[in-house]
Amino acid sequence: MQTTSDEVLIARIAGGDRLAMQVLFARHQVRVYRFVLRLVRNEATAEDLISEVFLDVWRQAGKFEGRSAVSTWMLGIARFKALSVLRKRPEEELDEEAAEQIEDQTDDPEVALAKKDKAAVLRQALSKLSAEHREIVDLVYYHEKSVEEVAGIVGIPEATVKTRMFYARKKLSEFLKEQGIDRGWP
């Protein structure tokens, strides 16, 4: 039902209907924002990006062929924009991000407390995944995208989607093990 409504909105947007654009934006902005934020890790940049994403939707609505769900199409645009920003990001900023991920491994009081809470450690581990692994985990678990849809958004074969998800999960287990939580897998 939601998919059909989105398609109708896109058809209206293609005809220049601003109200339809407002409805589509209100419906999807939070999820698109969170997807982008998890990739770029900067709220101001993520906010700039979502207006760019929806501007592309406004401009390209007439070309939307309905081969995928509208939300899948928009996440594909969002991913492209986020990766463009990441590519332009200065080296030192990327180094800082990598350093943040590494320093989480120290046993400060916060981490020690977190160790007592497996769920918190798991969330911490989810944040420490590489951008490639973060995006696939989010697409599958949070954005509820099928294997085929993830393949379309990320631009990789379906078999690679399954393998990449498997390795992302394996990495999670490794992070958890570093924090003293052995899940007995893989």
Binding site: A14, Y33, R123, V140, Y142
Partner: protein, 224 residues
């Protein structure tokens, strides 16, 4: 276990994240269910996948939302765009889309109203469940605003399985003496009270574990 069986397990294991998220085809979903029923180790690994699913949702839900500036910026840019003409219709799909596109704003508003009515009906159903649980019969009460202090008690976050009917949900809530405290939040999450008083973490975890075995539950996690 033979190499073939190992290969089958490996293939099925790679599908577990999509099975947990409810995005597998019916056929694949059935394959996974059958494998889970006969392979305890696979079932144990599936429990790990469900943990990851739950924490990924909670992590994303904690990220907040963009400010109103994002919308202002978007529409300022749209206003600066040149006016456009609607594309000519060339196929059935486009013509259907254009038929819908040709509906007046009033019709769109009516559709939105119909959707809102549907949501209200759903809310009323849940409210009915909550009221029945209380059994007071006095006054009006919605599912998201119970008469008791909404902050008191022990809670979980639940997303109901997409295939669960309202009857299934009703039965599940009644059987487990649960109350909807608020929701749905983005992601279809409901905050559900499992006890009128606070519970130790271990007790709450036990309850969550028991509830997540019900097919009505798509996702469940403890919450404050």
């Amino acid at each position: 276990m033979t190499t073939n069986n190992e290969q089958t397990r490996s293939d099925i294991e790679k599908l577990l994240p999509w099975h947990a998220a409810g995005t597998l085809s019916r056929r694949d979903s059935q394959r996974v269910d059958e494998a889970l029923a006969r392979d305890p180790e696979l079932a144990r690994r599936y429990a790990l996948v469900r943990e990851e699913l739950g924490e990924t949702i909670l992590l994303n839900e904690s990220l907040g939302a963009p400010s109103g500036r994002a919308m202002e910026r978007l529409f300022a840019k749209i206003d600066a765009e040149p006016a456009r003409k609607a594309a000519p219709s060339i196929d059935l799909g486009t013509r259907i889309a254009e038929f819908f596109a040709s509906l007046t704003p009033r019709t769109l508003a009516l559709s939105a109203t119909a959707a809102a009515v549907a949501i209200l009906l759903q809310a009323a159903l849940i409210a009915g469940i909550v009221i029945k649980d209380h059994g007071t019969g006095s006054g009006y009460e919605t599912a998201s605003a119970p008469t008791t202090d909404p902050g008191v008690g022990a809670f979980t976050m639940i997303r109901f399985a997409p295939q669960a009917s309202s009857d299934d949900i009703n039965r599940f809530l009644e059987a487990n003496k649960l109350q909807i405290a608020s929701g749905p939040a983005p992601g279809g999450l409901y905050k559900v009270r499992v006890s009128m008083t606070g519970l130790p973490k271990a007790d709450l975890a036990r309850i969550v574990k028991k509830l997540q075995e019900d097919k009505v539950v798509g996702f469940i996690a403890t919450t404050e």
